[in-house]
Symmetry: C2
Subunit: 412 residues, 2 copies
């Protein structure tokens, strides 16, 4: 597959192309000259309607986005609505396009959503596991040489008291040695679903010789890439509610509307982070340097570590520098997680492939906050009431309030 | 929960009570004086009808079994037909019986069945994962003190080049230490489903304080317990086909009908084994010495290790001692697995609780072969054609032949 490296035009299927990363990824690869098939079942928009959540940045439909992209770039993204749980649909896509690679974002990706109740746990695990199984079988039977690039999460590892390696660990035990999958202790039914996927994918590489790159991605921030900036129709999502948003997004919105920045518990929860533009670069590097047949390559995809409290203090400092007093408030932690722990996760393999990181800068953070300030009148204060889902008991009255409100709206 | 130890009468729900181990387990616990609720959806009997397979030992219906058990023992087993994927049904069972413990056998448990095709892989993983999720939520919301005893498999570990510990491994890495889940490399979609379950259960113990014992069981042999021997209506299953049977059962049947004993590949595949009566004892020990709240206790449940070739040679030697020439034939291995490997799995924790093993003896093997000889006219030779499912390509012409035959029969 060395022929895939460099400037060859590849046929790439982007699954979950309506999502926060999927849409900019589709444009980025199209811009690089690859043939891009964008696939989504639009479930994320449906979950927004059902739960009363929404992207702060206004979104256009996939049809509008693809049309606008064609007009501006002169390049075509082929858009197909399909549900990965429907194997017949998956099989048709692989038979029709015979992709060189498939980039798989198409999963339910919210930890709190997976913890709302039993039905949300089941939905998350069945959706994610069955979708990925269907892709693996379609690759085996239709395009065995296809490279699966699968989005996982750094959250699969949890917070062990040892250094986190990239996917595998060399273990010496009772005088013998082996290289085995890094032991994972995921912290929600969502994170568990990603571990289930990783185990299924690793098996498919061993049993069938599938090529796979499993990306354990950190928390992604930023809303702009060179392509999204070309036209408002090409925007991607910005989630800030407690179900879909990240802590950093929440802090930006709270800062913009003058509320305290709410940190869950002590705030010592440390995670890996990366810029949306670096996500584009990492996945492009994986695509253009594919895994070998039968290889299950694991990259930890992030560039820096921060604790939640560090991020809150970073935002507060920036605001103070602009003369805007901003406080940090500690609220009870709805999650079951360590609030202070050792964390040292390796992330060398993508650097070795040539990644040039954009580190989190005051400039970028200020730009994010300015974007949010321009949209402050779209912030529904109910969505800043924290938190709506408890790890121990599931969705609470805030969850009920906004999801019921939406149901009331739908019924009217 | 020390009050549960010893002779207290417990309310125990046996899920999968129509199965090979589930049915003798239900009787064993009833005989010990516990209140037993036997639950099954009878899917195993349906899969037999669909696939043209059957138990060599004739089986009676659950209704007949429970009636006979009541007449003979004077004890009542409460029998309920229910599907664990139906949460409303699970919730009703937990609300009605408020069990002290639930013993969960109710999963699709055949590796080859899970490898037949995509649909069988999905069925296996969704059935097993969703059933277990439903139990975990019912425990959380209905009976938080209930002890979940879950049947897993030694096959979750695969065949690492280091000693296999019981569930967890103390790891030293770069000068730091942690105790983490033992890394697992399962070898089929079925084995993967058990790993998914184990990960979900471990999470529920951490997040919700569920009590759990996860039993990584070896290959079980034998068809008799003190209770099954009381009356033919109380028999349990004996599977010998390549989908549901074990290698040892296949060897016994091949010996009884005078065919060569077929070993997959070199036969160096080494596994843990135990007597059906020891399974009864292990699970009773786990039941009467429950896990603490929030504890996810893992036991490796087997008593001896054998390679497949050792077992074939054992059966062949016994036959030769009776003047019956028996040969061992190596056939192409349908599975993707190591055929010669290091294997040293620990199994101390159940011994520490008091397990007194029955090791595999010539007497027991001869008794199994005699049982099979008495039923030799029930052996369908198609079911001895090996193997019907390939790990690389799924069900083959043998699978098609006998499953189609059944479909033809059903249609007539």
């Amino acid at each position: 597959m060395s022929s895939q490296a460099g400037s060859e035009r590849l046929t790439v299927m982007v699954l979950g192309a309506d999502g926060y990363i999927g849409w900019p990824m589709a444009m980025h690869l199209s811009q690089l000259g690859h043939r891009v098939i964008a696939v989504d079942n639009l479930s994320r928009r449906r979950w927004d309607r059902e739960g009363g959540t929404y992207s702060l940045v206004p979104l256009h439909t996939m049809g509008q986005r693809v049309r606008r992209w064609g007009l501006i770039s002169g390049r075509q993204i082929e858009w197909r609505r399909a549900d990965l749980r429907d194997f017949a649909a998956v099989d048709r896509l692989f038979a029709e396009f015979e992709p060189h690679a498939v980039i798989h974002f198409a999963e339910q990706r919210s930890a709190p959503f997976s913890m709302v109740d039993r039905a949300h746990a089941e939905l998350t695990q069945v959706n994610n596991v069955v979708g990925t199984l269907n892709i693996l079988f379609a690759i085996r039977d239709r395009v065995p040489d296809c490279h699966l690039i699968k989005l996982g999460t750094m959250g699969e590892y949890g917070t062990p008291n040892i250094d986190i390696e990239e996917g595998y660990l060399d273990i010496e035990h009772n005088g013998r040695r082996d290289r085995l999958p890094f032991p994972k202790v995921p912290g929600s039914f969502y994170h568990l679903s990603k571990v289930h996927d990783s185990n299924n994918i690793y098996f498919a590489t061993r049993a069938w010789g599938v090529r796979a790159t499993d990306l354990n991605q950190g928390v992604v921030y930023g809303v702009e890439t060179p392509e999204t900036s070309l036209h408002p129709d090409l925007n991607t999502r910005f989630d800030f509610d407690s179900l879909w948003g990240t802590a950093l997004n929440r802090f930006c919105v709270q800062a913009a509307v003058g509320q305290p920045l709410t940190v869950y518990g002590k705030g010592g929860q440390t995670r890996g982070f990366l810029d949306l533009r670096d996500t584009m670069a990492c996945i492009t590097l994986a695509l253009e340097n594919p895994a070998a047949r039968g290889e299950c390559r694991v990259f930890n995809q992030f560039t820096e570590q921060f604790s939640v409290l560090e991020l809150a203090e970073l935002v507060a400092r920036l605001r103070r520098e602009q003369g805007l007093e901003t406080t940090v408030a500690h609220v009870p932690n709805p999650r079951v997680e360590a609030e202070g722990h050792y964390y040292n996760a390796k992330h060398q393999l993508l650097l070795d492939l040539g990644l040039q990181p954009h580190y989190l800068s005051d400039t970028l953070l200020n730009s994010m906050i300015r974007t949010v300030e321009g949209l402050a009148d779209r912030v529904d204060p109910v969505l800043l009431e924290q938190p709506s889902v408890s790890w121990k008991t599931g969705g609470n009255e805030v969850w009920d309030r906004y999801s019921n409100r939406e149901r009331a709206t739908s019924a009217s």
